[in-house]
């Protein structure tokens, strides 16, 4: 069993993919990691549907109905759910719209913002239903581990993933913790 690769899924909800970029910032260590892990659904391989996994890594907060479906699928399928980054942990910068009326926000972005001509608020039925507030991940599902940072440093991803690969409970010291 020790040789079995750890199966990992990742997603970005209301995030900027900065956390995913920070994960990739482990640089050449990714070659070593690749010997011990395999990716399930992740934007890195463009697989859209999640299957049973050991670890789910969730970036971003919850800003629309699709985010909830993805997040709940992650929780159902992942033994260990890891929330990463300020947006997943606190709502982050997207949650700064939480005290702005949603319609005012849309109009500012799509109709009245600088450089827009004949702007319209998108209303395609395929677009996910936006929520009036952006929520952190832990308000929707149980989270097993939180990695703070905007983004969490590459060394924090490395420490936690190598702990998980080795079957240890992940720990990290204060020097790897920054909320910004």
């Amino acid at each position: 069993m020790a040789d079995r690769k750890l199966r990992i899924a990742t997603c970005s909800l209301a995030g900027c993919f900065g956390c995913h970029m920070s994960l990739l910032d482990i640089d050449e260590r990714i070659l070593e990691l690749a010997q011990h892990i395999t990716f399930d659904r992740t934007p890195l391989n463009d697989v859209k549907k999640i299957g049973p996994c050991d670890v789910g890594i969730v970036e971003g907060g919850v800003c629309n109905a699709e985010n909830v479906h993805v997040l709940k699928a992650f929780r159902r399928n992942c033994r260990i759910l890891v929330a990463v980054g300020a947006c997943a942990l606190t709502g982050g910068v997207p949650a700064m719209r939480n005290n702005v009326d949603l319609w005012d926000c849309f109009q500012e972005v799509y109709q009245y913002g600088g450089g827009i001509e004949d702007g319209q608020v998108p209303n395609d039925p395929e677009l996910p239903l936006p929520f009036d507030k952006v929520h952190p991940v832990h308000e929707v599902v149980r989270v097993d581990l939180s990695l703070p940072g905007c983004p969490p440093p590459a060394d924090l991803f490395w420490k936690v993933l190598t702990d998980l690969v080795a079957g240890r409970t992940p720990t990290f010291d204060r020097t790897l913790v920054h909320y910004d």
């Binding site: 606190t90 982050g92 910068v93 949650a95 939480n98 939180s146 703070p148 204060r174 909320y179 910004d180």
Partner: protein, 243 residues
Amino acid sequence: MSGRTFTLDGQPVPFTEGETVMEAALAAGVYIPHLCYRPGYGHHGSCKVCTVAIDGHNAASCTTRAREGMAVETATPELADMRRALVEMLFVEGNHTCPACEKSGECELQAVAYHIGMAAPRFDFFFPARDLDASHPDVILDRNRCILCELCVRASRDVDGKNVFAIGGRGIRARLIVNAASGRLGDTDLAKDDAAVRVCPVGAILRKGDAYTKPVGQRTFDLRPIAAVAIEEARRERERRRG
């Protein structure tokens, strides 16, 4: 050699008559996490982050006078849990968006949260609607980040002699108010060099034009943890008082 002492986690700590547990601990080089206490300012005892167990009973160390022979505990798992819960509640009660805050790296709420090992608040976020007052030419007041520590109230009243700030309202409606009929900071006699501006432990009262002048990695709490900064600050205040 006949000085008075109490014990702090079993170690003897000397004190002089009238000193608080917090003051004696800092003088002995022991950091007790705190937010509303600041050396040189009147004691307030509102944040409760500095709560310690004194002979088995919890009390705020910043408002409790040291007594001969008292047994004080601070580094217990129970107190650590309680402090973490208190700080997490402060984070969810306001709008503390560290990645978008000019005070990040200089913020004591953030630094205390690092010290007590908070990865993320466990509670649901309030996302309260709070005002931002940019009416003053040199100072901005962002109530989203205010933790109601009253340090600015004390600084303005006791150091600046101006009484610019007060806390108005009760409970969840409590908020920082300013001493002007209009309610606007720009209509007060606050000046950018006032102690009330400098003393804010969070990003609620900020000087305009000072944001992001220190690069990430060079900010106060990038370089040193808050424990070292607070012990140093207390030492400077003791030297200032001795003259």
